[in-house]
Amino acid sequence: MARIIVVEDDSHITRVICLWLQRNGHETLSAEDGRKALDLIRQTQPDLLVTDVNLPAMDGLELLQMIRDQGLMSSPAIVLTSRCDQAEIEARADSLGAVVHPKPFSPLHLMEAIEKALHTTTGPDAPDAVAACDLLGSPRNG
C-alpha cells in the first residue's frame, strides 16, 4: 500500500484515478493545482505523484521540477498529458524521472505503470497521514 497524490484540474479524471487506486489498496491524495499539490506533498510526503501537465498557475512538469529541487520526493512520477507536443514533454519528464502517459489513457494500464513505478522505488516510509480523496464533492474546473 502506498500513498499516491493525484494532481489534476479535471475532477472527473481525479475521481476515476482515485477509484482505481483505492481499489488496488492505495491511499490517495488529490490537488487541483501545483501550489496546493506542493503544500500537500510537504504535509503528507506521498510515495508517488500522478500529475497532469496542463494545470492552472504552474504546469505539472514545473511542479515536478520544484519537487525534485526541494527534495520532496525522489520516487518516479507519472505524467498524464493530452497535449500534442508529447516528444518535448517526454524529454522533460525523462530528465525529471517521470513516465509520460498520453490521454486518453486506460486506467488499467495506468495502474500497471503505477505498480511498476512503486516497485522501482527505494521503499519510502509508510505514510503516516492519510487524506481521503474527495471522490464526489470536488467542484469541476473548466
Binding site: D10, H12, I13, V16, I17, L19, W20, R23, N54, L55, P56, A57, S82, R83, C84, D85, K103, P104, F105, S106, P107, L108, L135, L136, P139, R140, G142
Partner: protein, 632 residues
C-alpha cells in the same frame, strides 16, 4: 526639228521671264541692224575713196590734156572744158587764174566770176588737191595746177567739181545683207535662243518649283519633277527627285516604325511600371552601391516608408548589416532557405505598431551589373495564421482529449467492474453522458466556425424576444457563476424590442459571451448583463470584473483560434472559437460586437443588433426594471 514643226513652241518662255526673251531678241535685232549698217557704211566709204582716186587721176589727165590743147589750139580749150564738164560724176570744170577768177568755166555763166574760198584738205592724191565744195555739202573739188603757158605767167589751176553721189541703197549691198547676213544672223539667233532656252528653261523651272518648297513632302516632291525628260538636266533632276522621294519614303517608314516602336515601348514600360507599382508584393531594385533605384508601393509600405519614394535612398537606412549581407551577396549556396521557387530569407522587423515579418527573395539581375532585385512578401499574417492554427490544434487536441479521456476511463471502469455501488455507477454513466455532450458541443463549435468561415451558415429567422432569451441563458449559466461565487445580474427594460434572428445561434452568442465573462472573472466578482433599446437597435452590454484584455489583443480576440498568451487565459479551457462565432453570427444578423476593457479591472462586451421598433413610444423612455436581478 520639233520646234520647227510646232512654231508656237517658241512662245514657251513660260518658265523664263518674258522680258529675258524679248530683250534677247531686241538685242539681236539691234546687233543685226548695226552690223548691216556698219558694213554698208564701210562699203560706201571705200567706194567713195575709189571714185575720188579715179577722179583725181582723170583730173590730172585732163589737166595735161588741157595744157596741150592750150598750147596747140587755145580756141578749142573752152570746148574741151565744157565737154569734160559733162562727164558723169563731174558737176563742172573750170580754169582759175592766179588772180582768183575763173577764166574758163564749163558753165558759161560763171566765167569771170570770183573763185569761192575753198577749204583745201591737207591730203593730196598725186598732184591733186582736194577741197570741199562750199556749194555742195558732200561735194568735192579737185584742184590740179596747170603748167604755165609762158614764162613769167602765173600758174593756173584746173578745178574739177565732182557731183555728189546720190544717196541710194546699194543694190548689191542690200542683196548681200538680205541674202547672207540676215539668214546667218537669224539662224545664229535661233540657235542661241534654242540652246539658251534648252539650258535655262529647266533651271528656271527648278527655281520656280523650289521657290515654294523648302521642305517638300513626298507629294510636293512629285510636283517638282520636270516633264522634259529628254533633257539631260531634267532627266538628272528627275532622277534626283526620285531618289530623294524614295529616301524620304524610307525615312518616313523608318520614322513611323521608330515612332510606333518608341510609343509601344513607352506604353509597355509605363504599363509594366504601373503593374509593378500595384503589385501586392514588394519589388525593389538595389544597385551595386546599395542604393535603391526602384521600389514599388508595397515595398515602401513594408519597410515602413509608406507614401515615400525610396528611390535614391540607401539600403543602409532600411536593413541592418547582416540582412544586407545576406540579401545583396552574390548567388551562392548559403543564401537562406532554398526551394524550387528560389531562395528566401525571412526577417522580422520591430515596429511600433507590431512586428512585421518579411520574406525576401533576392535575385541578381540579368540586366544590370551586380544589380539585385528584391521581392518582399509580408508573411506576418501568414505567420499569425500559422500560429493561430497551431494554437488551435494545440487547444483543440487538448479539448477533444479531455472528454475522450473521461469517457474512456469511466467506460473502462464500468466494464472492469471496479465499482459496486449503484449510485456511483449511475454517476459514472452521467459523467460519460456529460462528456459526450461536451464533445458534441465542441464539434458543433468547430462546425459553426467552419460554416461561418466558408459563408455557408444559414439563419433560421424568426421573431426572437431577447428578454426571454436572456433570462433563459442567465438561468442556465447561473450554476457556473455560483460555482465561482460570482454575482450574475441581468437588467432588462420594461419593454424589450424583438429581434429578427436565429434563436439558436443568438443563444450560442449569449452563452459564449456570458460564459467567457464567468470564465475570466475571478471568484467573488460580478457579471452584469444590461439590455438597452437604442432607436431601431438593441444594445446588450455584458460587463465583468474579470482579468480584462490588453488593447493590443482587443481586436484579435475576435479572430478564429486566437487566444491571448497569458497564463490566466491559457489556464482556462477554451478553443479560441467562441468570440469568432459571436462576431460572425452577429454580423450575419446585421449587428456588431465591440469590446471595451481595462486589464485587471474588467471588460464590457457590447452586442448591437437591429431591432424592431417598439409600439407606443420611444424605446429609451421606458421605465427600467431596476434591480431586476435574476439570481437563481
Amino acid at each position: 526639228m520639233r520646234w520647227l514643226r510646232r512654231p508656237w513652241s517658241l512662245k514657251n518662255f513660260d518658265e523664263i521671264p518674258p522680258w529675258v526673251g524679248l530683250s534677247l531678241g531686241l538685242l539681236y535685232l539691234v546687233a543685226v541692224v548695226a552690223v548691216g549698217g556698219a558694213a554698208l557704211y564701210v562699203q560706201k566709204q571705200e567706194l567713195a575713196e575709189t571714185q575720188l582716186a579715179g577722179a583725181a587721176r582723170w583730173s590730172e589727165c585732163l589737166a595735161r590734156h588741157l595744157a596741150c590743147v592750150q598750147k596747140t589750139d587755145p580756141q578749142s580749150l573752152a570746148n574741151e572744158l565744157r565737154r569734160a564738164g559733162r562727164e558723169d560724176g563731174v558737176a563742172w570744170c573750170a580754169i582759175a587764174s592766179s588772180e582768183g577768177r575763173y577764166q574758163l568755166h564749163s558753165d558759161p555763166g560763171r566765167v569771170g566770176k570770183q573763185v569761192e574760198h575753198l577749204e583745201v584738205q591737207p591730203s593730196t592724191i598725186g598732184n591733186v588737191q582736194i577741197a570741199t565744195d562750199p556749194a555742195q555739202p558732200h561735194g568735192r573739188i579737185l584742184i590740179v595746177r596747170l603748167p604755165p603757158a609762158a614764162s613769167g605767167q602765173k600758174p593756173e589751176e584746173l578745178h574739177v567739181a565732182l557731183a555728189p553721189p546720190p544717196f541710194a541703197w546699194n543694190r548689191s549691198g542690200i542683196l548681200i545683207w538680205a541674202g547672207y547676213i540676215l539668214p546667218v544672223v537669224l539662224a545664229l539667233y535661233l540657235a542661241c535662243y534654242r540652246l539658251f532656252r534648252r539650258s535655262v528653261r529647266p533651271l528656271a523651272a527648278i527655281r520656280k518649283r523650289l521657290a515654294h518648297c523648302s521642305q517638300p513632302t513626298i507629294e510636293q516632291l512629285a510636283a517638282l519633277r520636270l516633264n522634259d525628260s529628254f533633257d539631260q538636266i531634267s532627266s538628272s533632276w528627275n532622277q534626283l527627285i526620285d531618289f530623294v522621294t524614295e529616301m524620304q519614303e524610307q525615312l518616313r517608314r523608318t520614322r513611323l516604325n521608330t515612332d510606333m516602336t518608341a510609343a509601344m515601348d513607352a506604353f509597355r514600360s509605363e504599363r509594366l511600371t504601373n503593374i509593378l507599382m500595384q503589385l501586392p508584393f514588394g519589388v525593389m531594385v538595389v544597385e551595386a552601391d546599395g542604393s535603391i533605384s526602384f521600389a514599388n508601393r508595397a515595398a515602401a509600405g513594408m519597410v515602413g516608408s509608406a507614401g515615400e519614394s525610396l528611390e535614391g535612398r540607401s539600403t543602409e537606412s532600411l536593413f541592418d548589416e547582416a540582412l544586407r549581407a545576406s540579401l545583396l551577396a552574390g548567388p551562392g549556396p548559403n543564401r537562406g532557405a532554398a526551394t524550387g521557387a528560389g531562395r528566401w530569407i525571412d526577417y522580422t522587423f520591430k515596429r511600433p505598431h507590431g512586428d512585421i515579418t518579411l520574406r525576401f527573395w533576392s535575385l541578381v539581375s540579368e540586366f544590370g551589373d551586380q544589380e539585385h532585385i528584391l521581392f518582399m512578401q509580408d508573411i506576418s499574417q501568414a505567420r499569425e495564421a500559422e500560429r493561430a492554427r497551431d494554437s488551435f490544434l494545440y487547444h483543440i487536441t487538448h479539448e477533444l482529449r479531455t472528454p475522450l479521456t473521461n469517457i474512456r476511463a469511466y467506460a473502462e471502469t464500468l466494464s472492469q467492474g471496479v465499482i459496486d455501488d449503484p449510485q456511483t455507477i449511475r454517476e459514472c454513466y452521467n459523467i460519460i453522458m456529460g462528456e459526450t455532450q461536451r464533445l458534441n458541443r465542441l464539434i458543433e463549435d468547430i462546425l459553426n466556425v467552419s460554416q461561418l468561415e466558408v459563408g455557408s451558415a444559414r439563419l433560421n429567422l424568426s421573431e426572437v424576444a431577447l428578454d426571454g432569451l436572456l433570462r433563459k441563458v442567465v438561468q442556465d449559466m447561473q450554476g457556473n457563476a455560483d460555482a465561482k461565487h460570482l454575482d450574475l445580474v441581468l437588467s432588462l427594460p420594461a419593454k424589450t424590442p424583438r429581434v429578427r434572428g436565429d434563436r439558436d445561434r443568438l443563444t450560442v452568442v449569449l452563452v459564449n459571451l456570458i460564459g467567457n465573462a464567468i470564465k475570466y472573472t475571478p471568484e467573488g466578482g460580478r457579471v452584469e448583463i444590461d439590455c438597452t433599446p437604442e432607436n431601431e437597435r438593441l444594445r446588450i452590454n455584458i460587463t465583468d470584473t474579470g482579468i480584462g484584455i490588453a488593447p493590443e489583443h482587443q481586436e484579435k480576440i475576435f479572430e478564429k483560434f486566437y487566444r491571448v498568451s497569458d497564463e490566466r487565459v491559457q489556464g482556462v479551457p477554451g478553443t479560441g472559437l467562441g468570440l469568432a462565432i459571436v462576431r460572425e453570427t452577429v454580423r450575419l444578423h446585421g449587428g456588431n460586437v465591440f469590446v471595451n476593457s481595462t486589464p485587471g479591472k474588467g471588460s464590457t462586451f457590447s452586442l448591437v443588433l437591429p431591432a424592431q421598433p417598439l409600439d407606443g413610444g420611444p424605446a429609451d423612455g421606458v421605465a427600467r426594471q431596476d434591480a431586476s436581478t435574476e439570481k437563481k
